[in-house]
Symmetry: C2
Amino acid sequence: MALSTQTRTQSERADHTRSRILDAAVREFSENGLAGARTEQIAEIAGVNKALLYYYFKSKEALYRAALETVAQRVLEMSLSALTPDHSPGEQIVQFALNHFDRIHSQRAFQSLMQQEMVRLHRGEENSFSSIVEKVFRPMMFRIRDLLTEGMRDGELVQADEWQVMYAALGANVFYFLSAPVVGIMSDANPLTREAMEFRRKVSIEFLGASIFVDRKHGAEVAARVLACTPMPESGEFKMFERKAK
Amino acid sequence: MALSTQTRTQSERADHTRSRILDAAVREFSENGLAGARTEQIAEIAGVNKALLYYYFKSKEALYRAALETVAQRVLEMSLSALTPDHSPGEQIVQFALNHFDRIHSQRAFQSLMQQEMVRLHRGEENSFSSIVEKVFRPMMFRIRDLLTEGMRDGELVQADEWQVMYAALGANVFYFLSAPVVGIMSDANPLTREAMEFRRKVSIEFLGASIFVDRKHGAEVAARVLACTPMPESGEFKMFERKAK
DNA sequence: GTTATTTTACTAACTGGTTAGTTAATAATG
DNA sequence: CATTATTAACTAACCAGTTAGTAAAATAAC
């Protein structure tokens, strides 16, 4: 951990340090929120002195914003590569929903930061979060909306408010992970094991297929096809949220 | 505000003070989270000295738990009165979903506390939250699951994983309010105005009707009937989340 | 029914630990 | 040697929780 000190040029190592700080910040902020996170802890995770945080970032809040942008960027890259323009609108929507599901659990930190940011926004906190919305969410959402409009026009998808379809499709995924701790307590079966998630992922896509297509049989086929083409990614690609050995 | 001091017995006034503290705590914790909330601020909102918090509650965290239980209790009462056993399972489900929608926006503080509690649970925080889950969520959720099973057996509802139907129905509602700040930035149309919510409420129920019933026409009728019977409650019944005049 | 004693409800002012942020000095690098 | 990266040590503010006290209500004593 204290190695790799003699490699490369100074500025390259500086970049590396900076991004280590950012990673540590993402982790600490996502686990504890802006108020709960401790700068000392971020420094320790990153393996640097606390003062270095202030060398690279103006303040705790600036670091928070930078951390938010980091994860947003990752999500943008991940979601852009998901759509497959040569398939039917309906199939692309299903594909997108499946990708969204996988994204949530591999990017737990993003989800967590988002949730907390929502609460902050509710309070009317001044943001600079707007730019993330513009860069990440707007293009994604409007792209999906256009696909839905097209699918409905073609008669592949049921007539409905486009945004409602999004709320239903993405909301089900978000709610699954959001409620996981409660469900865990409620049914003493942990919803975050690989088996549980694999099941939910399948069922979630199948239900979407049954919900939004005019021809439910066609919907079921699309769902099956998409599921077959997209295996669930290995878990633990990012090992955020591992329990710390105190 | 400084009146009503000469009324009633001492212990009655004490009860009143205690509940004023709890209300203040609900508000402060829901806006700022456990770590972000300030005891001094809670005291100020309640109009008492900070030390009084420690007279009534052991610690900040004990107060937090008490606040959580307060709102959970309210929600339980609200949701129990929603089901109408003389209707068909499908109609009861739709009724429940509509009630859930209305509950979210009239009990914003609960939603907010829940979200934050989810994050805390994710981290494996020790809870005593379990009792709330047992008392509020488990009875509610299992009741709904049984209704779904019945509806599917009768052929009224489409065959699907019961929990998935819940994730879809409730997730869409939750996600609407969860994403409201982002959508607000994205489309500069505030989703939390009365008109926007009235529209979403209607569309959300209609979409549910189109999704879970074997006979989509019957589903549409049920949705229309439920909507007709249940006008949207006046907003601002609880004025949590009003902006504070600093 | 008045007086003395205890209990309850509440506050002003303090304390000590914590934590965001600074400074000044020191390595490393080019 | 001048610039850049990094740290140890410090400070000022903040904030959860305490203490020591008071006024009034409830209760007991006479």
